[in-house]
Every structure is written in C-alpha cells, then in structure tokens.
Amino acid sequence: MDALEQLIKTFFDWEAMGAVVPSMLTVGLPNTLLLAVSSGVLGCILGMVLAVMAISRNPVLRWLSRIYTDVFRGVPAIVTILLIGIGLGPIVRQLTGSTNPFPLGILALTLMAAAYIGEIFRSGIQSVEKGQLEASRALGFGYSASMRLVVIPQGIRRVLPALVNQFISLIKDSSLIYLLGLLSSQREIFRIGNDAAANSGNLSPLIAAAALYLVLTIPLTHLVNFIDNRLRTGRPEKKEPDELAAVVGKGAQA
C-alpha cells in the first residue's frame, strides 16, 4: 500500500525523530518544565484565591472573581500572551533591563491557568457538605481556618483529576509563548518539534514531541491517581481502585 507507506514515512521517520530528540531533551524539556511547573504552581495559588473569592459572602469579591474568570477563560491564549508581551514587555524591559520572555510568559500562562483552576477549585469546594463547615466552626475555627483545614482539603481531593487535566493543558499551552519571541535556546519541546518538522517537511519530529509529552503527562496522572487513592482510602494495602463499586459486592456485576 503506497498511501500507507507514505503515511508511515510522514509520521514515523525514525531518523528524523532521532535527529531532534537530543535538543528536545537538553533544551526543550527543561524549558517546558520551567514554564509549566512555575505557572502551574502560581496558577494554583491564584486559582485558589479566585475560588475563595467566588464563594465569599462579599458580593464585590464574588463579582471580581467572576469577571476575572470570564475574561481570562474566554479570551484565546494567543491574544492574552500578545497583550501581555506587547503591552507589558516594554515596561518590564525598562524596569529590569531584561529581554528574557520567560517571566512574561509565565505571567501570561499563570493568569490564564488561574481562571480555569479557580473554577475547578470552586466546584470542588462547593461540593463539600455544609455540615463540615458547621462542625469546624462549632469547634471554634474561624471561617478561613475552617476553609483551609477542613473544607478546601476535601474539595481539592474531589477535583484532582480535573486539576490534572488543567496541568496537562498547561504543559501544552506553554508552547504558545513562542509568540513572545524566543531565542533558539528558549524553545520548548513542541516548538523544537515544529521547527524541525518545517525544516524536513516530515511530521515525525512532532510525533517525537508528542511522545515526550506523554512521558511527562502519564507518570503525572498516575502519581496523582495514586495519591488520590491513598488519601481516599488511607489503606496502602487496598488493591481495588474502584472504591465506589467495591462496596456493593458481587451483585454489582449483575
């Protein structure tokens, strides 16, 4: 089959992949990790602030959070990145003298991720039974301590998989900061694959980039699932990942 052969050559040219892997590992991987991890952490912090604002009793805080979320979630990533790069870029340059696009890139990614993460946290927190807040307040904890110690930990646990979704999106979105103007040593995994694909006219470097993404994201998913299960059951000897069905004996299969 000629077409199939052509297809395989287009996507799975081992030589073209091999050529690009070294720079993906030495240049792309550290950059991707730097961008994704730092904006992931900052995005979680800002997202938590947004979530707490969104359920606060103060309508001003609620609306601020709502507007922020609506805007930064609705606007295409490219537009946000360009606005920040072109709008803030010159100011940052004048203040710090640095032309490194990473701080601005991390800022842009953080602002966008926070909007999504905030909604995820909000849904988790709101799903915690109100009896939990009551019990904690009855012990004498203040509202914020109750949230911090009792409600939020339970809420986060419930949305861990959705949070992983967002973190994976972030790893992928980090490729968009090329719009801020990157030195060749500042490119991340996908950009390196993309440029190599353009050079060779063969799409295999993109597949190599995808494979490297999988190497990052699959262990992450399974690590989080593992932690999740441990937290959920508290028993390391538990083998069945399916808590829900497990309680209802064999009948569940009928």
Partner: protein
C-alpha cells in the same frame, strides 16, 4: 478566657425563620452554670436549630443570647464557640482525617499544642469513649455508634465550658449510654454547663436538672424533670409523654 469562666447560658426571645418557615418563635431558655438542661419535643419542633442559634452557627433574627448575663451577639463568635462544645445529630466527622486527627485537630491549631501532645491528649479522650483501638481508622469505616463517640471525644477534647449534645446517644447502645451518662455526671461535677437535646425520656430524666419541652418553635413547658415527667401541666406534654414506651 475571662468572661466565659462561669458559663450560665440564657437565650431570650429567640426568633428564626427559614424562608417562610418560622422555626423558632420566641424561645426562652436559662441554664445555670454547672447544670444540665435537656430539651425534648417532637421531630421538627426546632431543637437542633435552637442549639445552632445558641452557638451562633445561625444568627438569630431576633432575641439575645447571654453568657453570665452578658450578651454575646456582639463578640467574636469563634471565641464563643471555642467555649461551647457541640456534638451534632449527624456527627459531621472530618472524612479526610483519621479518628485521632479528628480529635487532635482543634487542639493543635486552636490550643496550639505541639503535635505529639495533641495526639496524646486525643488518645486519652478516645480512650474515655472506648475507641483508642480505632485511632488510625477513617470515620467512614466506623459503625454509627463509633462515629458518635468520636464526635463526643472531639468536642470534649477542647475542654469547653458548655456542651451541646444533639441526640447525643441516638446511636449508642445501653452500655455506652451508661458510660456517657457517667461522663456527663463527671463533667457536671466539674462545673460544665450542658444542653442535651434528646428523645429518650429515660435519658432526659436521668441527666437533667431542668427539662424544656418544645413544640412548633415555642417552649411549651419547662421545669425540673420530676415535675415535668410526673406532673405535666399542658395537654400537649401529657400527650407527648403518654407515648413513651
């Protein structure tokens, strides 16, 4: 700690509505320091709601709450609640923490105890309710009576001056009820003020210094247990008591 050291609790003309449902319609309740008041009444009469209002988990829409004759409605509610322990009808244990962590949490974070000390203290409390061996279990793996006892231990660990029990023995077997009773007697001797919502008349009779009978959001009758149980003055209470097994 100043103002709450004695612990005489008074509720004055408390009103509360959920939407159009006027649940509390002018409740008065007075509990002397070191005494136990029990609150009885039919399901839905507002007993649990009254407890919630008295430690300000729900703010009353009218009326006042006094501790040692001083209104607490203007004070910081968190300080108030640290001095009032509460055992909920539905227990409300923290499912993400082990049993011992449930008990130790407030000790560590509010009493600022070091972790080891809080743990040891929590184990002591769990031992009192016979659950030391379940210290590392999760609440969801406990039986109903076990959960209720953890809730009691959690509240007592904070050494409150006033305790609210909402159906405090509903999931306890007779042996445990007796244990809780002994515990409460000790607490009362130590000067603790207690408000106990219960539907077990025997329990009410045994623990209380005063009994308050609520119905439809108002206090129908109140007095010492001997009087209420042997010589109820209202037909409503007579009818209610006639049903006791």
């Amino acid at each position: 700690m100043s103002e709450f050291t004695s612990g005489t609790l008074t509720a004055k003309n408390i009103h509360l509505s959920f939407g159009s449902n006027h649940v509390l319609r002018g409740i008065d309740l007075h509990v002397e320091k070191g005494t136990t008041a029990s609150v009885i009444g039919p399901s839905g009469s507002g007993k649990s709601t009254l407890l919630r209002v008295m430690n300000r988990l729900i703010e009353p829409q009218r009326g006042d709450i006094l501790l040692d004759g001083r209104s607490v409605l203007q004070d910081n509610p968190d300080e108030l609640r640290q001095r009032i322990g509460m055992v909920f009808q539905q227990f409300n244990l923290f499912p993400h923490k082990t049993v011992v962590e449930n008990v130790a949490l407030a000790l560590r974070k509010l009493r600022k105890m070091p972790k080891d000390q809080a743990h040891a203290e929590a184990l002591t409390q769990l031992d009192l309710v016979g659950l030391k061996h379940k210290a590392e279990a999760r609440p969801s793996n406990l039986s109903g009576g076990q959960q209720q006892r953890v809730a009691i231990a959690r509240a007592l660990a904070m050494k409150p001056e006033v305790m609210f029990f909402d159906e405090a023995t509903s999931a306890l077997d007779p042996e445990l009820v007796k244990g809780v009773l002994a515990l409460m007697a000790d607490l009362a001797k130590g000067g603790m003020t207690m408000v106990v919502v219960t539907h077990e008349m025997g329990f009410s009779r045994n623990v209380s210094d005063t009994v308050t009978f609520m119905d439809g959001g108002v206090v129908v009758e109140t007095g010492p247990p001997e009087q209420l149980f042997t010589d109820p003055r209202t037909d409503r209470l007579k009818g209610f008591l006639s049903d006791v097994l």
